[in-house]
């Protein structure tokens, strides 16, 4: 393969941290408990080996020998290997690739915040009192997006532009009941359109494309009117871009007016970078009356981070929320951060409007999406503040100016012309006398990624059109190189400049955005202060059940940031991204080994999306194999997480619940009854294993056989893989599809709520239906992408959250075939050890028998007498008592266990394998002390938490008086209430001392507490 000039240095970059300074980083397999610790814990449980923890798994579903993943690499060999793979990507000096992922400079603040572990490793801020760092970071994102777009309600981000668009179409349908058709301008990015069409299938949503006019490169509003007339009363909304996939500016005013005239919803697709001061008109002012569109969506990845081979992206989603429209927001998906007050009246932030979401509304939720791209959204806020008003305007202008200057020059070369005469902003299409693929390859040989071949999008039958994109990264020299390349290819141009294309004033922004200008040092100090407001699994057991809060190795982040990976553009020629394709190829293979299944897709960017991909494959399989059958039913156990029914509903299925037996597991008699009653109406089943209570469903295989008996399919929710990875063979269990949360089991950081990752593995039956493309390795040693024969389509515009694949790839190599079962084995051992100590004092749910021992997590509760005693003194209900007990954990410098899920009166604890026995013993001491404290001093529940940066936040007030954005003139104030004690300080105190301080703090804030 030809090597091209590359900008990546041949010197391996040093670690941006000191591995020896972090005890967890260099431990074998990142496991906290060493051999002696493990021995001591096994002895405490009366066991001899980790294998005995899996003794209750039925014969035939356990792996016989080592799983098919590579052998472990030591730390130095790992770093060397990762570096070498990254070097297989050629990063050219000059790139004009954009295509919806344009290239703007990564601000220095981004690597800085990427190093703030309190922000990168935190969980979603459901416990808002110790999540103010993430919440304030997301608040800033919502505010700056409001300022750029004019939309009052921009949610805290969705996966990417494509899914944001699908969700907007669904929102339009909810706002226009009983209407199902959405018109989409074919000039949106094809990668997005493919995702929307894949997701829409079998949901009742009808997508009608409106074609591009090949003469103008834009949509004719009259054509929209014509198609709308055909659709008639079923039309719910119209989707159109501002800058389209050919770089052309659509007539956003005419299209917005038309939607209003037809009485339907309008959805604009925008790029916030083009909306800075001096840039394009914001979507809230589209239309002849500046009335604005109903919703807008956009991609945010390039606002903060490099191309990263296509992900993680950020889906920006906005809707109006003002005096004229207070209700539409309730039909939207995703998380919103609101501003409210704590009990002392201090400003505080929290997640609001939660009742729309799957964890409360289940199959009636507005979407199955649970996560957001929290950390990248936070980094976007930081980047926009780092550029400030002037920097945003300058970057926006530079892309425009470079594009217009180059358009003028390049169009003068013989045989070269601007394909379209209309207005554009920072990208345009050139048509040349050469074959577009040949020209792109010729440029590649000169170290230039010239652009994207868009000939097929135009559909004029030739193959000569290339989309060339400009950002703020292009130096005068880069532009000169482009001109030189054209000179070499096309000879000396006509020196006479042609008529310059100008953007009409009506398409330009009028008022300035008004972003604040914050000095760099102040911004860094601010984000460092946010970092200190969160808690991290770096510092102590992070007991959040069902979330697998393990240690996130630092070397993974170092690898993902290597220039070879982070600067690779997903539209780059295949020859230049062999390193990225190798990562995808190998990780695919390893996940086949881990699951015992036949095929893998890396596209899904979150667990919920992985579930959805699986069900879309079920639909395609049945349509193909069982044509004419109406397979409408998905069976879901009662104990399932809300995402499962929400996903089944999003996919377009009806849901039938499987009852639980006395132990909380699936009631097999009921499964038999359902199979007998519904037979071939059953499309499949969704079962979490181990289940949401942390108990292994030992009859999973029998259940799978019953479902297979009616030719249904079996989805296993892999949320709890951390308990069984390397031990249980899912193929042998009868699984047809499983998702793996890379952010749980496979060590990628939670980012305060995302980006996550949800790779899916499938059985032989479903391999032909996988979405996107699979990587094959040719006899010539070259990796190439190939679509599946009967693919369901596409679920991501590119390869999913690629940077996360690099992290998981690094983790798998650090564990190897020996480390994976050790990892899960010690996770279960740690949980079983805690359970043995804590169940002596606490009640547990379910009351487990010897047949169903707890796996990697377990649920504590109080006895009814204890609830009653506390209620007598505090008037708190049982569920309030549990929620407030969670707040007491915060006072010990910890995160809370999972409260109210899966049991309303439960505290679910999952320690993971990351902690030493000493850390686990301290945790036991804390949890026992909390029991003693609430029994002796139940009144402390009324004022908890005491030592957090803000006191308990009034979520009722915040939800009654919703505030989801504001004009940002300066940085928000860092909360720091008088009683605050930082977690690091709490970890130095004895448990007894903290308990005493809690009682004292309660008396200080509630002086009359003992009056009665």
């Amino acid at each position: 393969m030809a090597t091209i000039p590359s900008t990546v240095t041949t010197q391996r970059p040093p670690f941006n941290f000191d591995p020896t300074a972090h005890a967890q980083e260099l431990r074998p397999f990142y496991i906290g408990a060493n051999a002696a610790d493990q021995q001591a814990m096994l002895e405490a449980l009366g066991l001899k080996s980790l294998g005995e923890l899996y003794g209750h798994l039925p014969e035939g579903i356990r792996f016989d020998g080592p799983i098919a993943v590579p052998k472990v690499l030591d730390y130095e060999a790992l770093a060397k290997h990762l570096w070498e793979v990254s070097l297989k990507n050629n990063i050219p000096e000059v790139s004009f690739l954009g295509d919806g992922l344009p290239q703007y400079a990564v601000q220095d603040i981004v690597p800085f915040v990427c190093g703030l572990r309190g922000l990168t490793t935190a969980y979603t801020s459901y416990q808002a009192e110790i999540g103010q760092g993430t919440l304030q970071g997301l608040w800033i994102y919502q505010c700056v997006m409001r300022m750029l777009t004019g939309f009052e309600a921009v949610n805290a981000s969705l996966y990417d532009r494509a899914t944001a668009l699908f969700e907007a179409c669904n929102t339009a349908r909810r706002l226009m009941p009983k209407r199902n058709t959405i018109l989409i301008a074919e000039s949106v990015y094809p990668g997005d359109l493919a995702v929307v069409e894949t997701l829409a299938r079998e949901t009742g949503m009808v997508i009608r494309r409106v074609p591009i006019n090949p003469n103008t490169g834009v949509i004719d509003p009259e054509e929209v009117r014509r198609v709308a007339a055909q659709v008639g009363g079923d039309l719910a909304g119209i989707v159109f871009p501002q800058t389209n996939s050919l770089g052309c500016l659509e007539d956003v005013h005419a299209l917005t007016d038309l939607a209003d005239e037809l009485g339907v919803k309008s959805i604009a697709v925008i790029d916030p970078m083009q909306l800075a001061t001096g840039g394009l008109v914001p979507p809230a002012e589209f239309g002849s009356r500046k009335q604005g569109t109903t919703m807008f969506v956009g991609e945010g990845q390039h606002l903060a981070i490099g191309p990263n081979f296509g992900g993680p992206g950020v889906g920006i989603f906005g809707i109006r929320f003002n005096e004229a429209d207070k209700l539409s927001i309730r039909q939207t998906p995703g998380r919103f951060v609101g501003q409210g007050k704590d009990v002392e009246g201090a400003d505080a932030h929290l997640l609001v409007l939660s009742t729309r979401e799957q964890h409360i509304r289940r199959e009636k939720a507005t979407s199955n999406i649970c996560t957001n791209q929290a950390f990248v959204a936070l980094a976007i806020g930081a980047s926009i503040l780092a550029r400030g008003e002037e920097g945003m305007a300058a970057s926006c202008k530079k892309g425009h100016d470079s594009a217009h200057r180059m358009a003028d020059i390049l169009a003068e070369f013989p045989g070269v012309r601007l394909r379209f005469a209309g207005a554009f902003w920072n990208e345009f299409v050139l048509e040349t006398s050469q074959d577009a693929d040949d020209l792109i390859e010729a440029a590649r040989q000169k170290g230039i990624h010239l652009g994207v071949n868009v000939s097929r999008r135009i559909g004029d039958g030739n193959n000569r059109s290339i989309l060339i994109s400009f950002g703020d990264i292009h130096s005068p020299d880069n532009l000169q190189q482009l001109v030189l390349f054209f000179t070499e290819q096309f000879g000396i141009g006509d020196a006479l400049a042609g008529p310059a294309v100008k953007v009409p004033a009506v398409f330009l922004r009028e008022a300035a955005v008004g972003l604040p200008q914050i000095p760099d040092a102040a911004l860094r100090a601010y984000y460092s202060a946010l970092d200190a407001l969160n808690v991290s699994p770096d510092d102590a057991v992070f007991p959040l059940g069902s979330c697998t809060m393990k240690y996130n190795p630092r070397i993974n982040d170092w690898a993902a940031a290597l220039a070879g990976f982070s600067q690779a553009h997903p539209e780059a020629p295949v020859a230049d991204v062999q390193g990225s394709l190798q990562v995808l190829y190998e990780i695919d293979h390893w996940f086949k080994g881990i699951t015992g299944l036949a095929g893998v897709t890396t596209q899904p960017v979150a667990g919920a999306q992985g579930e959805l991909v699986a069900l879309k494959m079920f639909q395609a399989y049945h349509a193909d194999q069982h044509a004419g059958e109406a397979r409408r039913i998905i069976l879901i156990p009662h104990s399932a997480h809300g995402t499962n029914p929400a996903t089944a509903a999003t996919a377009g299925y009806d849901i039938v619940e499987i009852k639980a037996d006395a132990t909380g597991k699936m009631d097999m008699d009921h499964v038999r009854e359902l199979v007998a009653n519904h037979g071939r109406q059953i499309a499949g089943v969704m079962v979490t294993n181990p289940n949401t209570s942390g108990v292994f469903e030992t009859q999973f295989k029998e259940m799978a056989e019953l479902i297979h008996g009616v030719e249904g399919l079996v989805f296993m929710d892999g949320a709890n893989m951390n308990a069984i990875a390397g031990w249980a063979n899912l193929g042998a269990m009868g699984v047809d599809a499983v998702h793996n949360n890379l952010h749980k089991t496979w060590s990628i950081p939670h980012g305060g709520g995302g980006p996550g990752d949800g790779m899916v593995a499938v059985s032989e039956k479903l391999v032909n239906y996988l979405p996107g493309e699979q990587i094959v390795l040719g006899a010539d040693g070259i990796y190439r992408p190939v679509p599946a024969e009967k693919s369901i389509g596409s679920i991501h515009r590119h390869w999913g959250n690629f940077a996360h694949k690099v992290r998981a790839y690094a983790y798998l190599l650090a564990l190897g075939q020996e480390g994976i079962p050790q990892m899960s084995g010690v996770a279960v051992l740690s949980a079983r050890y805690l359970y043995q100590k804590l169940s002596q004092v606490y009640q547990t749910i379910p009351v487990t028998s010897a047949q169903d021992p707890v796996m990697h997590e377990f649920i504590l509760t109080l006895s009814s007498e204890q609830f009653r005693a506390i209620n007598t003194k505090t008037k708190l209900t049982d569920t309030q008592i549990i929620a407030r007990m969670g707040k007491i954990f915060l006072d010990f410098g910890l995160h809370a266990p999972t409260v109210a899920f899966p049991e309303a009166k439960g505290l679910m604890i999952e320690p993971t394998e990351s902690f030493t026995k000493a850390e686990l013993d301290r945790f036991v001491e804390v949890v026992l002390a909390i029991h003693a404290l609430v029994m002796e001093h139940p009144e402390v529940l009324l004022s908890a938490p005491h030592f957090t940066p803000v006191r308990r936040i009034d979520d009722v007030l915040a939800n009654r008086n919703l505030l989801v954005s504001a004009q940002l003139d300066d940085l928000p104030v860092i909360p720091n209430q008088a009683l605050r004690i930082p977690p690091a300080q709490l970890h130095q105190m004895s448990v007894e001392e903290i308990a005493q301080r809690i009682v004292a703090a309660h008396e200080a804030v509630v002086p009359m507490a003992h009056a009665g």
Partner: protein
């Protein structure tokens, strides 16, 4: 538990006050207490019609959602806008200030299917609530 004698009650915890032609509908004291502090109420527009047992509105606390089912069929003649603006009224005074909608009955015979205060009280006990 406050259960006014002059009202009729449904199994979905709504109350109805009717003159035989029109009816005022709200949620019971028990319902508001079980929901906790109410943060959002959505009500239908005037003129909307619904059948008995159809949902006509939503009441939400911070962490739970309750659809409100029509205890009788009817056409909306008035919605209680102050409750939408100030949802806490529903917690404070569910039977008077906290009424939700007034409807013109389409089938007054349905009133007979509703429970008296005594019957509703027994129903709550039976439900173990």
């Amino acid at each position: 538990m406050n259960l006014p004698e002059d009202l009729k009650y449904s199994r979905e915890h709504e109350w109805v006050k009717s003159d035989g032609k029109t009816a005022t509908i709200g949620i019971t004291d028990y319902a508001q207490e079980r929901l906790g502090e109410i943060v959002f109420v959505e009500l239908p527009n005037d003129g909307e019609e619904f059948e008995k047992d159809e949902t006509f509105g939503v009441v939400e606390s911070v962490k739970s959602v309750n659809d409100i089912y029509a205890p009788v069929s009817g056409r909306v003649i008035e919605s209680n806008d102050p409750v939408v603006e100030t949802p806490e009224i529903l917690n404070e005074d569910p039977y008077a200030e906290g009424w939700l909608i007034k409807v013109e009955l389409t089938d007054p015979r349905e009133l007979k299917d509703l429970m008296s205060a005594k019957e509703y009280e027994a129903f709550l006990k039976e439900e173990g609530e």
